[in-house]
Amino acid sequence: MASVTLRNVTKRYGGAVLAVDNISLSVADGEFLALLGPSGCGKTSTMRMIAGLEDISEGEILVDDTITNNLSSAERNVAMAFENYGLYPHKTVFGNIAYPLVVRRRSRRDIEDNVLRVAAMLHIDDVLDRKPAELSGGFQQRVSLARALVREPSVFLMDEPISHLDADLRSVMRGELKRLQKDNGATTIYVTHDQLEAMSMADRIAVMDHGVLQQVGTPLEIFNAPANEFVASFIGEPPMNLFTAHVGASDDGRSPVLIGEHELLVLDDRLRAGALADGGAIRVGVRPKDFVLNASASDASMPAEVRVAEALIDRVLATLDSPAGRLRLELPAGTNLREGERVRVAPRADRIHLFDPETGKAIRLV
């Protein structure tokens, strides 16, 4: 068990390419933290620095109170499961999983018990006597994961450990890994590009883009109050609708937010904080679930035309053309929409997200 702290950590490749830009972050003892971002955002570089596989260009990484910058990978007592498996080709699956215990001179009985326990959990107990080359990518990925889990280290690092599994198994493994982590209480740092994995598994999520830490918070904090437009667009499925509106003239301390002549909501002037001039642009974000359909024309709403409607068991997904551009809506099951039908849509006023058009930062009441 251990905590992990990053202080002003920066990573440059070849002196010029800035992969990780001045990140400070702490992961509490026993916490499950997801490092989430698109490919190239710096999440894997960050994890490799924690593991000791990459030098740190600037800053410090601590495990508990110990600065680890100059410790070797082996001295850090971290275990890793990688996207590209790193299995020993000449050893069997059993031999691969057992290896970390063998080098630690654990008893044969102990090794066997632990390998079988982990293999059963990952549904690979049928292939223990095979060689990695005889297995599919999904199996190899689980063997790599099993080898990390069997060690019971102070910190687990996982890099996209389930990304190559098929959708059904991925769903099962999400639940299994989360439950496992809750049971063994090991500090876990989990790298993924999949917002669903991060949301469903992590205690907290650190969202990265272009080497910069964008926001750290619980899944619900990040979902409900994204710090900027990037986080807003990256979290949630279907993704948030984002469009540009303009702010009308203030009247009695309140100003309308308009799309064309259609009023979408009325802003408290305290939100405007001087930055939003009359007629100025503002970015508006509305999640697909946060629209009301067929609001009355007197409500803050706009006309729209149904482009496509997709009926699923528990919801209807629709694409609409509106003055705000093309929108994706998620509506209750049974909502009857015909293609070409004209409707009125209103964003739920209490669920609207606003962003500064220049900086992309969320605008909030303070």
Binding site: P38, D166, A167, D168, S171, R174, G175, K178, R179, K182, D183, Q195, L196, M199, S200, M201, P219, L220, F223, S233, I235, G236, E237, P238, P239, R287, K289, R307, V308, E310, A311, L312, I313, D314, L317, A318, T319, R326, R328, A333, E339
Partner: protein
């Protein structure tokens, strides 16, 4: 465009049957989805329709014209397959133009340009038109490959075949394109056969679907028909997001007792309950269970609960918190439960 009929289609690779007596009639102008897990025979079906693979037995018929023995280039089929197969030495624009310039397709340059820009706009690849395929990411290549199939829509193409055409794109683009593909297909009115292992994608775009398991057709119907009347436990276990909960009814157990009390078919061996068709509470009654793990997804959360008969996934609001290991009662909406017999076949239930 035309109707496509598959008559007793069988395909063996060596002694392994990839397709086993597939029989289906795809209607003119229909958006038809082949839905199945990896290895079910989806791609093989498309390849046989395209003429890239010959069937071991059976026939492919376009309209009233048997296609057996007719080479792919004479079938007038537009295709986008998962392996992109772009021409590496020419630009994206030239790759898109290529199928429009093939011999026998007299499409003028203005019309070619119009089609290319329309498709490029749809697939968000307009800024890439002058690049070479080697300068593109995997997702961008996949869109060019898809564009090459779509660009021919409405030029007398018999059928458009799309094999997991948006599988490698990011979530935002996948969501947009799904709707857009459907819209585009309806506008162009081309018979389209689309293979996908993804429930949401398959059910969102299809007019009708064919569920393929181990090379055999298990069910053909509209998304609504399959969702409300899945033919058997195998089909039911493939649909939903999360998937339908299938629980064994051990005759002496509490689950079976409650199911019978709520009108379960006497021969039912398995009950199917949608994740949205069960409520959780801490009071008396219902099925006693234990919370396994909770996965928040924004406004909703998936709670996995161990009950007699299996582990359920229940979709609930994320405002309620549950701890792993906590005892909980599950209240299924029994009037909407599905029942399956000992052989897995549907025997009743599922009213909506």
């Amino acid at each position: 465009m035309s109707q496509v009929e598959l008559r007793s289609l069988t395909k063996h690779y060596g002694r392994q049957p990839a397709l086993d007596n597939v029989e289906v009639s795809i209607r003119d102008g229909e958006f038809f989805v082949i839905f199945g897990r990896p290895g079910a025979g989806k791609s093989t079906t498309l390849k046989v329709i395209a003429g890239i693979e010959d069937p071991t037995d059976g026939q492919v018929v376009f309209g009233d014209q048997p296609m057996n023995g007719i080479p792919p280039q004479r079938r007038n089929v537009a295709m986008a397959f998962e392996s992109y197969a772009l021409y590496p030495h020419i630009s994206v624009a030239a790759n898109l133009e290529f199928p429009l310039k093939a011999p026998g397709r007299s499409i003028g340059i203005d019309e070619r340009q119009r089609r290319i820009s329309e498709v490029a706009e749809l697939l968000e690849i307009t800024p890439l038109l002058n690049r070479r395929p080697s300068q593109l990411s995997g997702g961008q290549r996949q869109r060019v490959s898809l564009g090459r199939a779509l660009v021919r829509s409405g030029t007398g193409v018999s059928v458009t075949l799309l094999d997991e055409p948006i599988a490698h794109l990011d979530a935002r683009l996948r969501h947009w394109l799904r709707g857009e593909l459907r819209h585009y297909q309806q506008k162009a009115d081309t018979t389209t056969v689309y293979a996908s292992p993804d429930y949401v994608e398959a059910f969102a775009v299809a007019d009708r679907l064919m569920v393929l398991i181990d090379g055999r057709v298990r069910q053909v119907g509209t998304p609504l028909e399959i969702q409300t009347h899945p033919a058997d436990t195998d089909v039911a276990g493939m649909i939903g997001d999360p998937k339908m909960n299938l629980l064994g009814l051990d005759s002496s157990g509490e689950l079976a007792r409650q199911a019978r009390q709520h009108g379960a078919h006497p021969a039912a061996a398995t009950v199917g309950i949608w994740p949205t068709d069960a409520k959780l509470d801490r009071t008396q009654g219902g099925i006693p269970g234990t919370v396994y793990v909770v996965e928040p997804l924004g406004e909703d959360a998936i709670v996995r609960v161990d009950v007699p008969g299996g582990r359920m996934q229940i979709k609930t609001s994320s405002s309620q918190t549950y701890r792993p290991g906590e005892p909980i009662n599950v209240h299924p909406a029994w009037e909407r439960a599905h029942y399956f017999g000992g052989d897995g076949a549907r025997i009743g239930g599922g009213a909506l």
